[in-house]
């Protein structure tokens, strides 16, 4: 079982490297360097202006250091087929999970140490935590992560399951307490860890909950793939469709003037999280950067870029149904799908423009330039619809 775990970890590592290489391409790294530089500059400037020893600084340190505890769930790499083929291996799952446990610590530990480093000037200068105390505090956080993963591992067996959300709330309280009474938090962390390690010895006598383990791992992988899919295509990602009845008002009331392609695209755009989340995420992003730059020229340029990127990333919707056998069997004109997609995206883009413009009125100084920017953004969106999209659609039909 140990070998199987190592083999799977190796495959998982290769897959992660493949996607990380795609995500962290040259442009993205460059953007990250700028973003990180800007953030650090803002941090350094804020540190100068901030008064020292305000009452909420220590809880703030506790809260920020609690955030990385939310990342990095227990990686088990258990597959659906294991329910069938490893069904008799309950006794050996403990052995299988050991390398998985160690692997699961890597990412959260990197994040905790990185964040602890960034937060150190604030914690020591502004919050008044001594460096030695801060070291113990960070050590406690690292032990908390072990405890959290041990609880997740325990939950894989049939026994009283501990809700991880509850564990996270307790950890939040403990990290905030730890920012004041670091020794107390350390003692609690050590006692919990010893208890959980002792409890782990009983695993061999317990029944492994295969169904729960499979579902948990599937959910974990889905989260990881969702992050990767924000930047690149992820073949393995399984989409879970949401009904979202509250958005039905955006669909035509009658099907009389509808056609099959438009009918499918509209519903996919509203119910497939890949597309709707993208649209929402990009719109929020445009509003957020507009608010940050506080200048109509920058807001216009960056929002136009976001609108373009939205359209670009929504293009795969055109071929979304090509692999569905019923789509190919039904008498649906596939050659018209590009034109139908444009009609659906028209509405999506206009809604995006409307939201961005409305938010500009709230977050940017209102003057004549702002209204001009709104008009220019609208013209840009219309140009995308009548010039860019038909050209892209032609390419799609050629690929067919």
């Amino acid at each position: 079982m140990n070998n199987l775990a190592k083999k799977r970890l190796n495959e998982n590592f290769k897959q992660s490297v493949k996607y990380l290489t795609l995500v962290f391409n040259d442009f993205f790294i460059l953007a990250l360097i700028f973003l990180f530089g800007a953030l650090m500059f803002w941090y350094a400037q804020s540190m100068k202006a901030m008064p020292a020893n305000l009452w909420f600084y220590k809880p703030l340190v506790g809260f920020v250091m609690w955030l990385p505890l939310l990342t990095g769930k227990l990686v088990t790499l258990i597959k659906e087929a294991d329910m069938q083929f490893l069904f008799t291996q309950d006794k050996h799952m403990d052995e299988y999970l050991k390398p998985m446990f160690r692997y699961s610590l890597i990412l959260p530990y990197i994040l905790i140490v990185l964040l602890a480093g960034i937060l150190f000037p604030f914690a020591s200068i502004k919050a008044g935590i001594k460096p030695s105390d801060y070291f113990i505090f960070v050590l406690t956080i690292l032990i908390f992560k072990i405890c959290q993963l041990l609880i997740e591992e325990n939950n894989l067996y049939f026994e009283k399951r501990i809700d991880i959300s509850l564990v996270n709330i307790i950890l939040l309280i403990l990290t905030i307490v730890g920012a004041y009474w670091y020794w107390l938090a350390l003692i609690v962390a050590l006692i919990s860890e010893i208890y959980l390690f002792y409890n782990q010895k009983n695993h061999q006598k317990k029944l492994f909950d295969w169904r729960y383990a499979v579902e948990n791992e599937k959910a974990r992988k889905d989260r990881v793939y969702s992050i990767f899919s924000m930047f690149t295509d992820v073949e393995e990602k399984q989409v879970s469709i949401k009904r979202r009845k509250y958005l039905d008002f955006l669909l035509p009331k009658s099907i009389a003037k509808e056609n099959p392609n438009r009918f499918l695209y509209r519903r996919s755009l509203l119910r497939n999280p890949e597309y709707l989340n993208l649209l929402v995420r990009m719109t929020v992003f445009a509003v957020l950067i507009s608010w940050l730059v506080q200048d109509w020229r920058w807001a216009l340029g960056l929002s136009a870029l976001v609108v373009f990127l939205t359209v670009y990333q929504l293009m795969p919707l055109a071929t979304e149904f090509d692999t569905n056998i019923m789509y190919r069997v039904y008498p649906i004109k596939r050659e018209d799908r590009g034109r139908d997609l444009i009609k659906v995206l028209n509405i999506a883009l206009l809604i995006q423009w409307l939201i961005i413009s409305a938010c500009w009125l709230l977050v940017l100084p209102i003057d004549i330039h702002l209204f001009e920017s709104m008009a220019v953004l609208l013209v840009f969106a219309i140009l995308l619809i009548i010039v860019y999209l038909p050209n892209k659609v032609k390419n799609l039909n050629r690929k067919r």
Binding site: I255, I325, M326, R328, V329, P331
Partner: protein, 246 residues
């Protein structure tokens, strides 16, 4: 007016899976396609549905050639696959609406028919459900309802009884019988001959990519030297021997 498959040779790659298939189904006729796994039943169906390009031969339905007028041809064909394929984004109601849109059905008449079918398969209270909430049998029922709603002249049914409860099997057989009586053409593949022969009397035996015989079950028994009271499983044993011999 008929489905004509003439000298059809084809498959997935350059190597043909089916060779020189000739079949004809006239209005009001049904044909069962039987054979062992890998005999070429699904490949034949995929060619009729336009999912594979024939290497040789032609497929015409009511004088419409599949390769020349694919959309017009497809408008005359409804299909029930062995494994139900639904759109995860669409509710049951929307699957029916999509069928109405694709086949250009009159909405009012189609809904009257849909309600009948939904009631028959006990789906009438699940119109707002997404496929994720359906069991395998229920998904298959959605495929059946959609296919019979399309009201086409040819019904292509691939292994329809898998995963259905006995009540649904009986209802499906009833629907197939009515369709035949109404002058529709039915092509069905199945291994469950006990159920199939309640609706279909004519069969084509497909073996190793070629049609060995077309006829009634009695004629098929005689062709393979089976006694009248021999269980039909024996046909498959005989086919297996023929297959191995080749």
């Amino acid at each position: 007016m008929s489905l004509k498959i003439e000298h059809l040779t084809g498959g997935y790659t350059g190597v043909p899976v089916i060779k020189d298939i000739n079949l004809e189904i006239k209005p009001g006729e049904a044909l069962g396609l039987i054979g062992l796994n890998g005999a070429g039943k699904s490949t034949t169906i995929k060619h009729i549905l336009g999912l594979l390009r024939p290497q040789k031969g032609s497929i015409t339905l009511n004088d419409i050639n599949l390769m020349q007028q694919p959309t017009k041809f497809k408008r005359e064909v409804a299909y029930i696959p062995e494994t139900p394929v639904l759109y995860p984004e669409l509710t049951l109601k929307e699957h029916l609406e999509l069928t109405m849109l694709s086949y250009n059905l009159d909405e009012k008449k189609a809904w009257d028919r849909a309600h009948e079918l939904l009631k028959m398969f006990r789906l009438d209270d699940k119109l707002d459900w997404l496929p994720i909430h359906f069991s395998k049998g229920m998904r298959q029922k959605v495929m059946i309802v959609s296919a019979f709603l399309a009201d086409t002249s040819l019904l292509v049914i691939d292994e329809p009884f898998t995963g259905l409860d006995p009540l649904a099997v009986a209802n499906l057989i009833d629907l197939i019988r009515k369709a035949i009586a109404d002058g529709k053409m039915v092509l069905m593949t199945t291994h469950v001959l006990a159920d199939a022969q309640q609706a279909i009397s004519n069969y084509a035996v497909l073996n190793n990519g070629t049609i060995e015989i077309v006829g009634s079950l009695k004629e098929i028994r005689e062709h393979y030297g089976l006694k009248p009271d021999d269980p039909f499983d024996k046909l498959y044993l005989t086919l297996n021997k023929v297959d191995h011999h080749e």
